[in-house]
């Protein structure tokens, strides 16, 4: 049994590890049978077959039996491909323009590396769509891009939505490299902000300046358009906010924009580890929340503390909730494990499923294409060996745009 296991693993991996080069037969039509098909719409279809053609889902039929043709796949369970909004893969220090702290015009679509081997790991673990943003060394780092984790070799071919969010960060990360002008100011890091207050100041200033530039060519600056799109609510603002004070700052900032009549930003709070500490404020803000990976002992980045029941709490507040895994290849920390932990903390299965599929898709406006198993959507599917998110279950098959990225079939 284990030899077959070994071969299957090897075969599946060889298939995927040829980084973007696919097997000769570009099979894109499938009949995928799952004893349980979890559509992420609230429906669970027993003994369902998902029909895939031309890279799209044609439909799901219940009460079927799996076939064994050349284009048949089967598994104990089928779910939509997972979506990770904080994947932190494919964009390193080369993607963040550190010569200034506010760079809203920088497009991560221009610097994302779709050949990074970490994408293979993501795809094989069932994450099929990901939002890539620049690392948070800037206060405002630029425009994030939503991509598929596998597919033809090229950014354009893999892009689901470019410039989907404007990314910013509150907290200690944007300021850590800057230093006051003591001694020799020999690099451009001799600048503000050097503190959390400074970071917040830069954030607010950027938006005030952008608002002031409305209709005025003289006062326009690179990125003022992008900043205004946030004020107008046409593009969400995604802020990294690990700690309570960062979450509060972000929400107060949003309320300030509103009360000053500058606009109505739509907030996505990323890595909101201490969301559990501010239920009332969060509920009032209506912000979407993306939770970071669960830490072993509660304590995590920026000295924040994250409880196991954070997901349940955010969900019960009625807020859009997404989970994320920060690109971890560690089998203990992948996105499906995060869903398991969320359930351990009290989140229901359906809510956990949605938190890694349709909810993040909706947050960044790609739910017309991905996030659930519905006719017309992209054929991004994950096949499981058992109940999804259980420790004793494994991702055994992955389909992206109808292409088989991880083959669940045992090799002969």
């Amino acid at each position: 049994m284990s030899t077959a296991m070994r071969s299957a693993l090897a075969a599946g991996l060889v298939l995927a590890c040829s980084a973007g080069l696919f097997a000769q037969e570009e099979q894109r039509d499938w009949k995928i049978f799952g004893e349980k098909v979890y559509t992420a719409t609230g429906d669970v279809i027993e003994n369902g077959t998902v029909a895939v053609a031309g890279g799209k889902i044609r439909g799901v039929t219940g009460g079927t039996r799996g076939g064994d043709g050349k284009n048949s796949l089967r598994a104990a369970a089928v779910t939509p491909g997972m979506v990770d909004l904080s994947v932190r893969v494919g964009a390193g220090t080369d993607s963040v323009e550190q010569s200034r702290e506010v760079a809203p015009d920088m497009r991560t679509a221009e610097s994302v590396d779709v050949f990074d081997v970490d994408w293979d790991v993501q795809a094989r673990s069932g994450v099929t769509t990901a939002l890539v943003c620049a690392p948070d060394f800037d206060v405002i780092g630029g425009l994030g891009v939503v991509v598929k984790t596998a597919g033809p070799s090229g950014v354009r071919a893999r892009t689901v939505k470019a410039d989907a969010v404007l990314r910013g960060a509150i907290g200690s990360q944007p300021s850590f490299r800057n230093h006051p002008a003591f001694g020799r100011p020999d690099d451009f890091f001799s600048r503000r902000p050097t503190t959390r207050m400074g970071v917040e100041w830069e954030l607010r200033k950027a938006f005030y300046d952008a608002a002031a530039a409305r209709g005025s060519d003289e006062r326009a600056f690179p990125g003022s358009d992008e900043l205004r799109s946030v004020l107008e609510g046409t593009r969400p603002l995604m802020l990294q906010t690990w700690t309570t004070q960062d979450i509060r700052t972000a929400i107060f900032f949003k309320e300030e924009m509103e009360s000053e009549g500058l606009g109505h930003p739509r907030l996505i709070l990323d890595a909101a580890a201490e969301a559990w500490k501010e239920p009332d404020l969060l509920a009032r803000s209506g912000a979407a929340v993306v939770l970071p990976p669960y830490p072993l002992d509660g304590r995590t980045s920026d000295n924040s503390f994250m409880t196991l029941d954070s997901a349940k709490l955010v969900h019960d507040l009625g807020l859009p909730l997404a989970l994320s895994a920060h690109g971890s290849g560690d089998p203990a920390a992948r996105l499906d494990r995060q869903a398991g932990f969320a359930m351990r903390g009290g989140l229901s299965f359906e809510a956990a499923l949605q938190a890694v599929t349709i909810a993040p898709a909706r947050m960044v406006g790609v739910d017309d294409r991905v996030g659930s198993i519905e006719a017309g959507k992209d054929a991004d599917l994950v096949l499981w060996s058992g109940t999804p998110f259980e420790t004793s279950s494994r991702v055994i098959g992955v389909v992206i745009d109808g292409r088989l990225v991880l083959d669940p079939r045992p090799t002969e």
């Binding site: 980045s301 920026d302 203990a332 932990f341 058992g386 259980e390 420790t391």
Partner: protein
């Protein structure tokens, strides 16, 4: 970036509080009676779960198990209709729970883990929390020959109170100790036994010559020379023997060498650590030559699956590492081959036990569950964390399943033991209430964030179970925060287009 305020003493208070609470909880006394009624009872791997089963424990032993077991009128009852009762997990080999896993000395069979087990070490507390009830504490593999181990339960304020079985085996390592090469390690192993043999032969010769040096030394060191120790005994060893050892009272054998003699005579189990496949051959050879192959259990690193045939042929059982999948990357093609290690041994019919990664989120339940996902049957996986390790430790009749006559070690789960959503609710050891989640302040904090008054927030712990003293929290993200140039976010690592391993 901000310095974390840690309060080591307070964190310790937290741990002590837990144990103290456990002790004070209304518990069945060791000589009392306890009946556990659970909605589901899983007695052992592969057994049909019993609905609404009852487990009766008297004087620390299970006296009845079944749906119709009679509850004695004077028994304390734990009524848990929503829970699943399960045998406690058994950790087959663990160098944790001590201040340091090894000494600097190469050959130190005279050491005993009793002297370094720390009953309040966080490892024991967390083991209990995740349903591990029997732990084989042994020295680590950074040695040539290590000291004597002890099987303990993670419950008790002294080592004696924790002890299930002492003299539970000696650790040997075929894998080089720090500073050694494979060659020097192998030679050191051989030399240890050669020196034992020489010393014994010298002892016999001295006896024959009428030299009482050995006796005087024994008296001077205060060794026991009465009873069994006063007698000489012919050496029984399948590997080699020393003629005339029956002339020498056992008490006169140097106490530094005596444990090795016991090993060679097949009186104590041996846990032989192998880091690489080549170490397996070395280990089996040493064990065979010196007569303790029949008592040997190999402790293996992941890559040792390659020596599975040799192990199967030798008929020795194995303890597997927590790395369930061995990954190898072809340096030329970049292709990755993954091998599911327990699957290899299952196929070859080699008995194997699993090990936990850490006492916390990746304890034995996790290893068993992951193994199921990777290809073991549920029965095989559960066996590997209960009855199989129990048999390796010679405790097959005492722990590892819920059967009449066995020790009253029962874990109550809120759901299926291998499910990520299940919590350990209660743990009973030897019929005593050892753990109750409702009073576990740490779980409450991790789950809900509630902080007991007068304590600091839970601190980050290092792998020894100690609070980080430097106040810095070292998570992966923190490394990015510090902007280290070679962080994983950097395209530099992993992308085979960069310098690195492939271009």
């Amino acid at each position: 970036m901000t310095t974390q305020l840690t309060n080591r003493a307070v964190a310790r208070t937290l741990q002590v509080t837990l144990l103290a609470t456990a002790l004070l909880a209304p518990a069945a006394l060791a000589d009392g009676k306890l009946a556990i009624k659970a909605g589901t009872v899983i007695t052992e791997a592969g057994a049909e779960p019993i609905e609404n089963g009852v487990i009766v424990i008297e004087n620390g032993r299970i006296t009845a198990v079944g749906a119709d077991a009679k509850v004695p009128w004077d028994a304390k009852v734990i009524d848990a209709p929503e829970m699943t009762a399960f045998p406690g997990f058994v950790e087959a080999y663990s160098p944790r729970g001590m201040d340091r896993p090894n000494e600097n000395i190469d050959v130190a069979p005279f050491l005993d883990v009793r002297d370094s087990i720390d009953p309040v070490n966080f490892y024991f507390e967390d083991s209990l929390r995740w349903g591990v009830t029997t732990i084989n504490v042994q020295q680590g593999p950074d040695c040539v020959i290590g000291g004597q181990g002890r099987v303990v339960k993670p419950y008790g304020m002294t080592v004696e109170a924790m002890t299930v079985e002492n003299n539970a085996g000696i650790v040997l390592s075929a894998s080089p100790k720090r500073g050694n090469s494979n060659a020097t390690q192998a030679q050191a192993l051989r030399k240890a036994f050669t020196e034992l043999r020489q010393a014994l032969e010298e002892l016999v010769q001295e006896q024959r010559d009428g030299d009482d040096r050995a006796r005087r030394e024994a008296l001077y060191q205060g060794r026991d020379l009465e009873g069994e120790k006063a007698k000489g005994r012919a050496m029984t060893g399948a590997g080699w023997t020393v003629e005339g050892l029956d002339l020498v009272p056992r008490g006169e054998v140097d106490e530094k060498l005596e444990p090795l003699l016991a090993l060679v005579e097949g009186d104590v189990p041996a846990f032989f650590y192998c880091g690489e496949p080549m170490n397996v051959h070395q280990a089996l050879e040493i064990a065979r030559e010196n007569g303790f192959l029949a008592r040997t259990t190999l402790v293996l690193d992941a890559s040792c699956w390659k020596a599975a045939d040799v192990i199967a042929e030798a008929g020795v059982p194995v303890v597997l590492s927590s790395e369930l999948v061995d990954r190898e990357r072809d340096p030329i093609t970049g292709e990755e081959i993954e091998t599911f290690v327990p699957g290899v041994f299952a196929e070859k019919g080699v008995p194997f036990a699993l090990s936990s990664t850490n006492a916390s989120t990746q304890s034995l339940w996790y290893q068993a569950a992951m193994a199921v996902g990777l290809g073991l049957t549920r029965e095989q996986a559960i066996q590997a964390v209960t009855s199989t390790p129990a048999s390796f430790l010679g405790l097959g009749k005492r722990v590892g399943s819920l059967e009449v006559g066995k020790e009253g070690n029962v874990v109550l789960f809120s759901g299926d033991p291998l499910s990520v959503t299940s919590f350990v609710e209660r743990v009973v050891i030897d019929g005593e209430d050892a753990y109750d989640r409702s009073t576990d302040v740490r779980v409450k904090q991790l789950l809900e964030g509630t902080q007991p008054p007068g304590t600091a927030a839970a601190a980050e712990l290092d792998e020894k179970g100690h609070v980080h003293d430097d106040g810095e929290v070292d998570t992966k993200d923190e490394k990015v925060d510090k902007g280290e140039e070679q962080s994983d976010d950097d395209k530099g690592s992993g992308d085979d287009d960069e310098g690195g391993e492939d271009q």
